[in-house]
């Protein structure tokens, strides 16, 4: 279990990883030295995996297509899900790999520059892999919210009085 202080630190960093140890110190009341040490530890332990900005690519005009692929895997003796997943994560086109409960086994998110590029990858690379029984491709039409951030339909900030009792 995380301590309240650690949780608060991680939450602050997850919202804005540009905050310096000094800025974090002011907001949390913890010393900058403690914070630096803690963050280093989390980085070493891969609790903090990566720092990256959250980009809304649709707004850049850059062509980008994403698809969710349902994958059914042929269960075989001594060839578990982990093994096939390990092969899949090596493809840079595959951004996400999840093992799922329910009607299929693996969920992948694949990104490419066009539908054709993604479809080709699925047909030629993915579906032909040994132990993969079937795939079903669902293209993303629009992103409304991602990783907790609303990408469209944002409410306007309501106006408050400038001074009130």
């Amino acid at each position: 279990m995380l301590s309240t202080e650690d949780r608060q630190l991680l939450e602050l960093i997850s919202q804005d990883c540009r905050l310096s140890p000094e800025e974090l110190s002011v907001q949390t009341g913890l010393s900058p030295e403690h914070i630096t040490k803690r963050i280093k530890q989390w980085e070493d332990d891969k609790v903090i995996v990566q720092y990256h900005p959250h980009i809304n690519w649709e707004k850049t005009g850059e062509p980008q297509v994403a698809a969710l692929i349902e994958v059914k895997v042929l269960p075989q003796r001594s060839f578990g899900f982990d093994k096939i997943a390990k092969r899949l994560i090596k493809y840079p086109q595959i951004k996400t790999v999840y093992l799922m409960s329910g009607g299929y086994d693996l969920a992948l998110i694949i990104e490419g520059k066009s539908m054709q590029e993604v479809a080709l990858f699925v047909a030629e690379k993915l579906a032909t892999l040994e132990h993969i029984q079937s795939t079903a491709t669902h293209f993303v039409l629009r992103r409304y919210k991602q990783d907790g951030v609303a990408l469209m339909g944002q409410e306007e900030t309501p106006e408050r009085l400038v001074v009130s009792p």
């Binding site: 608060q8 907001q27 400038v162």
Partner: protein, 386 residues
Amino acid sequence: MNKYLTPFVREMPPSGIRKFFDLVSTMKDVISLGVGEPDFVTPWTVRESGIYSLEQGQTMYTSNAGLPKLRQELSRYMNNTYGLEYDPEDEILITVGASEAVDLVMRALLGPEDVALIPDPSYVAYGPCAALAGARVRYVPTRAEEDFRLRVKDLEKVYTPRAKLLVLSYPNNPTGAIMTREDLLPIAKFVEEHDLLVLSDEIYADLTYKGVHTAFASLPGMRNRTLHVSGFSKAYAMTGWRIGYVAGHKDFIYGMTKIHQYTILCAPITAQHAAIDALASAEQAKQEMVKIYNQRRRLMVRGFREMGLSCFEPLGAFYVFPNIKSTKLSSEIFSEELLREEKVAVVPGSVFGPSGEGHIRCSYAYSTEQITAALQRISHFVQRRL
């Protein structure tokens, strides 16, 4: 047409905040730290409940006292949080914001023979509401050196045998001061010895950043002397819904309900439905907001101290109340010049009573970016004055 107003209303001074608001409204690009309400929007689940109640056609009056379900939930909430027991049948009244509750308490308990004791500085409405009820007011000074806590020695100095009602309002607007159980016990003793009643406005109770809030009514012997006033505005970011409540002895609640039924009838039903949901499902959202306020609070206290102003550590509400005496300016002049020169709006402490002089009220119900930018501008202003 002024002559038609009653002399009392004619002579009643407008809130000092209003004056300042008018000034700020004429200017552009102002960063304001002058707001006494959360910057958060009401949690979605609460808003959705209000909308759903409208879809269901819940648009009628409720009983004068408020929806039974809301009173039951409040009764449970006060019991769980403070160990207070109020019968939802006849000891809780739902009001239009805590403001109406303050007015009802004053009007039900005070008359021309009575005196109300009010801490100074404090929220702008207590004095005028007591005066509107016909009573006289004596202000009890509090000071930064004592973390703006109310002290018995100061109560004794202003006490008169005509004193009937003591107002408590902790966590305090404008100072951010809190009163712990230990701080409140001598006050309770004083109240008992002098046979006083208490209006305890605990609207900021959930915004307490150290220790736990003590409800005054939960102290030994205080339950039947206290009108416990609170509401949903601050903790659940629901200011515009106008929904509050008062709990106390059933005879007092009965008296207040009579005034309420003739003047207001009932609190808005949509807000009552939303409030039920706030109690049932917005606890986590509330805690999240409290956590963020606390981060901003630290940022602000440190900011003022770094620019060389003394600033006592406020442990409640969402205000800091730094001391600006070293600039040799009155709080009103400080605020006006700061607004003109640096376009930052704060509220002069004097607006909240004579003991607020020499301080400014700055709200941290703003994003950290806004707070940081405002602090920088205030710092420039202060450096030119020191």
